[in-house]
């Protein structure tokens, strides 16, 4: 036991906060991620992480809560993409590209100003790699509130979104209003990206959004099962990542530790690779029968 869980893991308050926020954010990311992947909007999701980088760094500059910056600018970014035309296949690349370029430019400017004018040396690191171990416990209710908003929105539009994803023509003929449903999903995606930017950092939040969903979609053939599997993978990767990051302070002699985001993303990626094994084995074992 001692080798797996280093002393103090379960009694440390930063660990409690990290497990709570990490777990909640993983649930939202995985659920939203399933729809992001089946709608072919992974690139839009990734772009929103860059938008949230700009938002987080602007919030630091203004001395605001970074979560509000992450989520606030993501929402603006998703609205902009919707206006330019992310709903239409042809408009998608264009909308995403324009917003991507603008947000990276803004992020670069704000991060530069953060480091030069405010002498907050930790800002860049916190924005890019997350701050799951240093979050104030007072942040927990805010994170939970935004998570509930995102999940409730997803639950409300669940069926029309699924129908519209399968066939926009059929959905429109059944009276589904494609534009509001698509926009509601983009807003839920923006909130989810903002939350994961806070937890594991904006450059890595795409991994938590797409990784568990992509692995789950390889393992299941029903949407409900895919959602549950993705949530389980996301939460497991996050909690094990937190544990390993905590343990890593005791590895070697330097007592520096490794970033938690690295562990979470690495675990997610390994699970994704492993999810391909069942399919692969089926493919390679078929010709082997002939011998």
């Amino acid at each position: 036991m001692h080798f797996i869980v280093e002393p103090g893991f379960f009694s440390s308050q930063p660990v409690h906060v990290a497990l709570t926020i990490g777990g909640v954010v993983a649930v939202v990311s995985a659920a939203v991620g399933i729809f992001t992947v089946i709608r072919g909007q992974s690139f839009a999701g990734h772009t929103l992480t860059d938008v949230s980088t700009a938002g987080g760094s602007a919030a630091f500059l203004l001395g605001m809560n970074p979560l509000l910056g992450f989520i606030g600018l993501s929402l603006v970014g998703s609205g902009t993409m919707d206006l330019i035309g992310v709903q239409r296949v042809r408009g998608r690349d264009l909308a995403t590209g324009i917003v991507l370029g603008a947000s990276i430019g803004l992020a670069a400017l704000f991060l530069y100003l953060d480091t030069t004018t405010r002498a907050t040396t930790g800002a860049t690191q916190q924005i890019l790699f997350g701050s799951i171990f240093t979050l104030d416990p007072g942040e927990v209710p805010i994170v939970v509130a935004f998570s509930v908003i995102s999940l409730v929105a997803l639950a409300v539009i669940y069926r029309p979104l699924l129908l519209a994803t399968m066939s926009p023509d059929i959905a429109a003929a059944r009276g589904v209003r494609l534009r509001p449903v698509g926009l509601a999903f983009m807003l839920a995606l923006a909130v989810s990206v903002g939350l994961s930017s806070l937890a594991i950092g904006s450059i890595l939040s795409t991994a938590l959004l797409i990784g568990p969903a992509a692995a789950a979609l390889r393992l299941t053939k029903r949407i409900g099962a895919a959602l549950i599997t993705a949530v389980a993978i996301g939460v497991a990767a996050t909690w094990v990542g937190v544990l390993l990051a905590y343990d890593s302070y005791y590895w070697g002699s330097s007592h520096n530790g490794y970033p938690v985001s690295f562990f979470i993303v690495a675990l997610t990626f390994l699970i994704y690779l492993a999810s391909g094994l069942p399919a692969r084995r089926a493919a390679t074992s078929a010709p082997a029968k002939r011998h």
């Binding site: 089946i38 029309p160 699924l162 129908l163 399968m166 059929i170 003929a173 059944r174 009276g175």
Partner: protein
């Protein structure tokens, strides 16, 4: 053009009446003064070459395209809620092989996919889906992902999806376009059986009328933006089609097949023939 047809069931009101519908898109008149009616439980073929306006007309009926002039009356429904009582299988449905949806899930979405919230499993729901799976002969692949099914199998699932909410009218946009002859015949047979047994009117668009001849009660023939409607004997005639095309055409009956042959000098004859409109060079 007016509808000269008699309803199949004389004392029931029509499930659909299209009255003087005119549609212009991008400054061009696509449909002009199109009028016809569909009786309950009847089978109607909407025939026209590529670009004749079949999809546009179906979109008008569904309320997705507002006509410039004229109106569409759907039985029992007034105004914008009409689309609920119409089943629809669009022309191109690209079902992603990676989409986590089994045939039975897709059929179930036909019940309540337009409603907000998460679907609740129930005995009624399952038995309705099972009933539809049987009706379209899809039990064999009920639990397979829809994206990996063949074209004909996907058509069956989409038809079941459109029918599970018990509409009185089913619209299908070129359901035979990407099917081989045999799968096409099977789908036609299936639709004919459903129309008769469940008393659901079918309006099916196609660019080739011959496969539909054995089952069609009525035909709506689109050409040059205008429509002629009636029984095949009334519509597929030299005078009627010549009037539609605005050019002499001849209708030939060869064995069980009908050929529509353009007289010399018809500007688009080669294009129409290439697209399988049934127009061939004379």
């Amino acid at each position: 053009m007016t509808d000269r047809s008699q309803p199949v069931t004389a004392n029931e009101p029509d499930v659909l009446r299209v009255e003087g519908v005119t549609v212009a898109l991008g400054g061009r008149t696509i449909l002009e003064d199109v009028a016809f009616a569909i009786a309950p439980g009847s089978f109607t073929g909407l025939i026209g070459s590529n670009g004749a306006g079949k999809t546009t007309l179906l979109r008008v009926i569904l309320g997705l395209q507002r006509p410039g002039r004229g109106r569409v009356v759907v039985a029992g429904d007034a105004g914008n809620r009409r689309n609920r009582s119409i089943g629809y299988v669009p022309q191109k449905v690209l079902l992603d092989p990676d989409m986590p949806m089994r045939a039975r899930d897709l059929i179930g979405l036909g019940l309540d996919g337009h409603r907000f919230g998460i679907p609740m499993p129930s005995k009624t729901r399952t038995s309705l889906v099972d009933e539809m799976l049987a009706a379209v002969d899809a039990e064999r692949f009920a639990n397979a992902r829809v994206g990996i099914l063949s074209g004909g199998e996907q058509q069956r699932v989409l038809i079941a999806h459109a029918l599970i909410s018990r509409p009185r009218l089913l619209l299908l946009d070129e359901p035979l376009a990407n099917l081989d002859l045999r799968s096409g015949q099977e789908i036609i047979g299936l639709l004919h059986r459903i129309a008769t047994e469940h008393h659901i009117a079918v309006l099916l668009s196609a660019h080739e009328m011959n496969p539909l001849l054995p089952v069609m009660d009525r035909v709506v023939y689109l050409a040059g933006g205008r429509a002629a409607a009636g029984t095949t004997d009334e519509v597929i005639r030299t005078e009627v089609l010549s009037g539609l095309y605005g050019h002499p055409v001849e209708v030939l009956h060869i064995h069980d097949r009908v050929l529509v042959i353009a007289g010399p000098g018809y500007p688009d004859a080669a294009r129409l023939a290439a697209e399988g409109a049934g127009i061939e060079l004379g």
